[in-house]
């Protein structure tokens, strides 16, 4: 039975939907799975809705729910979370720079999930290290080392001559 609290919930999630889908899409690289991630996040948020008071922390909280759920699904797969099926398929976007994005998204999808989450939160969502650490529930030091590993993995995966050359110089 909808009540005032439900209405607030629906309004909040509706307003946050584009941002949540962007985050989910960046993490998993697949439209369907992105919507599954958001759907599950919305469900979990509702479970806690009555107990979430400070709206200032709400965005960070919802982001944390989504990212952790993403990491859970990558660790557990369908046998724990039925919404997900096989491995992520990487689809191209159809606008300008589509090819570049496809290559990037493809590479990002191959970075281990936790490093991927760190990269997405730090560089797509411009969150400071401390905030990323809070989101993932780990130390700032771990975020820094995961960033470094994630970027190294991206460099390797992109196989871009220019980048490979630079990386090679430092070895």
């Amino acid at each position: 039975m909808p009540d005032a609290s439900d209405q607030e919930y629906v309004e909040y999630v509706t307003a946050r939907l584009p941002a949540l889908r962007r985050l989910a899409y960046a993490l998993c690289g697949d439209t369907d799975q992105a919507d599954d991630l958001v759907q599950e996040t919305a469900t979990r948020l509702y479970l806690r809705w009555a107990r979430i008071g400070e709206v200032g922390r709400l965005d960070a909280y919802v982001r944390a729910v989504l990212v952790r759920h993403f990491l859970d699904t990558r660790r557990r797969g369908w046998w724990r979370v039925h919404l997900f099926g096989g491995p992520p398929d990487v689809r191209s976007t159809e606008d300008r720079g589509a090819e570049e994005r496809t290559v990037l998204r493809d590479a990002l999808a191959k970075v281990p999930p936790r490093q991927r989450a760190v990269l997405v939160l730090r560089f797509l969502h411009d969150l400071p290290v401390d905030e990323v650490a809070r989101t993932l529930g780990c130390s700032a030091g771990t975020v820094k080392s995961q960033t470094s590993h994630g970027l190294a993995a991206m460099r390797r995966l992109l196989g871009d001559r220019e980048l490979a050359g630079r990386a090679g110089e430092e070895r």
Partner: protein, 417 residues
Amino acid sequence: MRTDDEHVADRLRWLDDEPAGPPRVDLPGAIQEARRRRRNRRVAAAGAVALGVLAVAALPVALNGDGRAAPAPAASPNPSVRSPEPRPAGAWQGVCRAELLPVPGDSRATVVAGDPDGRWLVGRRAPHGQGRMDFGQLIWEGDRVREVELPGSMQQLRDVNRGGLAVGSSQTDGSGSRAWAVHDGEVVGLPMVTSGGATAVNDAGRIVGYREVAPGKPWLQRPVAWDSYRSQPVDLPLPGQRWDGTAVDVDSDGTVLAAMSDGSPDRPTRAVVWRPGAARPEVLPLPTVPGGKATTFFPASVAGGWVTGTAERDATVVSRDGLPRYAVRIDLRTGRAEVLPSVRWVGVSNGQGWLAGTLSGDVPGVIIGARSVKLPVPDGWRGDRQGSVTSFSDDGRVLGGKLESDDQVRPVRWTCR
């Protein structure tokens, strides 16, 4: 940051686009699902299963103290005359080996539950079909495997007893869920007035689960019990008028365990037990966890008088996995509750109060007292040692579960001495 790192980071920012097409996020659906989950936290919290019953001969059980014995299903042999599989004698040493269980065709599958001897294991395959909602069921007896199709979608066998009687549920089109029993490959719909599901069965053939109270409101459930798979379900008496929830397990002596809350969907989940012969259910006290009293307790299983489950305590700082969570074991004989250390996910307990599940690092393992034992991978297994345990025999010698690696998940049996 190195120059090339900055370059990669810069390029990553190009990816901040919304997925094409309209969102198919369904908020009323999310609300409904959240409400349903409050009732069914057992599944949500442990990703798990109905489980274990106890390794002693089944006792006659009275539901409301009327002294009426629960008949065992005709198809289910009397467990007291079954001689158990030969097992190594002596103290449990915690030396285990793993073997992959046979699966016809696509090998991706997982064990969901087992009987107290570890002879029978039930599980399910990777989903297929539209929306990947169709789950083929598997029943192993020793090394033999049988495939079973349950009607509907989201099929899951949740428990099996020593007689090989398995119970579970599935979603049916439009009309909610259905409860099923499977014996000797034959699928039988459990008698049911409204929609509902079966979550556990003991060796006497008593089945427990839930029925949905009102059509279209799957989150409103009531715990029910069937004396046998041919009996009509009986509503279990509620702790209070507004309580709702589902039975999650039944002990060998007939004690029923349920996850319930007091009316409002925002009230925390509690453990409720019906002891054989008792006139009224008992709501178990919330256990004490680090920092104070738990705010909620999701019961997972009852075996040998031990209730195990997951306690949560509300906190302002949310950890990596949400609220701090603790594996808790409650002795129904004394009421004493204790937090079991080093368990990441509560999997299953056996009749001795031993717990198996997932330890840190997602490694499957066993907790016996203060001791934790990591379970091995089979010879030739490549990849991580990640997985979980969902079946634990009463003698501690046979465990069922799964191992995961990349896109693979395989059903596993561990045998220990």
